[in-house]
Symmetry: C2
Subunit: 271 residues, 2 copies
């Protein structure tokens, strides 16, 4: 199995795309045409993946949607499907896990063995020993929350200590301490473009997962201008609702393809 | 269904106990006598619960152990069993979730509807809008990471901003902003007894979940002295490995009872 970072670099290049499709299927919002399916979430995801695989650099299923719907099996099927059919596209399991070392080992096992994800998202609040069990899987990616896209992220993340905000401390720790296997990345919300610029200057080589374009209102032009690295990549720009619910009829997969294609082109205008 | 806080207060009183048993069964460490069972994790938990229910104030299954073992069904069975047989003992689902609002709603649904837990643990790094979907379940408890028991918790939690550490900011936000339904509690590690004292002074009425006695080395006397509230309760002192693996033979449930009883008595010496 190719490492997350190598898969990501290939997908950026081969698909000429920084788009990540968030597979966050709310069981209550699926198109009516899937209502008879025994595995409607999987069928929904499969159709979207089949329609978009040549337009994206990543897929990112959000675990909460599957957990709430008691659909862990369909999450597993979705990841396995992508890896079998489109092995060149990495899958990020968005779980935002974090716990003491012995428990973090179990969460690493969940993400990387049970679900076989190429990467996962983690929360840095508990520090290094909570991240090490994930980072030790050198071939997998570990994407650390830094400056999140939601309005209240300021409450703790913007507090200033020793002249640096908390999210800058997280970026510094990631660059200097947590990236020992060259498999770390950062989450930085599209809703904070000036922060994106500042952290890109601090961390020229670390990929950023950027949620918050589309439904959350982030500006694509500013994200690309401020967040890309020296070779015009470095970003995994996620859109979930804007792509998967672009069309709510039985033509949802075509709608998703159109939306993913438009987002890719819009991003590429600014690269 | 009685609220988490009311169940907790009753259990503190009726069992004269501040002990929480952490149900963190590593599938590879179960007693050999359970190896033929179709649901060994559930059987293990059931025997421990039956042997300890009159000695504890809470049970706390750690979700990561079930997730790693693909044993979500046995987690659900465990919680349902406790609530049917011992409805006076609240169950905390230890998941340390945290995400943007729309996703947090899904995690709340997972914990409070799919698993029907009385309370869950959450991570505050993303701020208020990530906590609100949990706190809005007024009858359920929301236990917020503040000063965690692990060695690296200092890296971010001890940073000082405006004269207060980050964990003091979390305690202040919890007291002044997040406790609008009187259902919030804080996680403070037994390994940091002076912090426990400081936060008890700041938050006289908020319950603390205290991991880190036993395997992690926290001092029970200092925890009780520094952490109890004005009426000698206020603490949920968790022990996992020290109780569930006290005896590794077919007498594991009796061993767990003995260990839970000893911990309760040790704690009560200092109250």
């Amino acid at each position: 199995m190719k490492s997350f970072m190598n898969k990501l670099k290939s997908a950026w290049k081969n698909n000429n795309s920084l788009v990540c499709v968030g597979l966050d299927p709310d069981a209550d919002k699926l198109p009516a045409c899937l209502s008879e399916s025994a595995k409607p979430i999987f069928e929904f995801n499969k159709a979207i993946v089949d329609a978009t695989h040549d337009l994206v650099c990543c897929y990112k299923p959000q675990a909460a949607y599957y957990a709430a719907a008691d659909a862990d099996d369909q999450l597993k099927m979705t990841i396995a499907y992508i890896q079998e059919e489109y092995p060149e596209i990495p899958v990020i399991l968005d779980v935002k896990r974090g716990d003491i070392g012995s428990t973090a080992e179990m969460y690493a096992k969940e993400a990387f063995e049970r679900y076989n994800a190429d990467a996962l998202t983690v929360n840095p609040y508990m520090g290094s020993d909570n991240l090490k069990p994930f980072l030790d899987y050198a071939e997998r990616g570990v994407i650390i929350l830094c400056r999140t896209s939601n309005p209240s992220s300021c409450e703790l993340q913007e507090l200033v200590c020793d002249g640096k905000t908390i999210y800058e401390h997280v970026a510094t720790l990631t660059r200097d301490k947590w990236n020992y296997n060259h498999n770390a990345a950062l989450v930085i919300g599209a809703t904070f473009p000036s922060e994106l610029k500042k952290i890109r200057e601090m961390c020229p080589d670390i990929p950023f997962l950027v949620p918050g374009v589309g439904a959350q209102g982030g500006d694509v032009g500013k994200v690309v201008k401020n967040g890309t690295n020296a070779v015009g990549t470095g970003l995994i720009i996620n859109s979930s609702r804007g792509i998967i619910y672009a069309d709510k009829t039985e033509k949802f997969a075509q709608g998703a393809r159109k939306a993913a294609s438009e987002l890719r082109d819009l991003i590429n205008q600014f690269r």
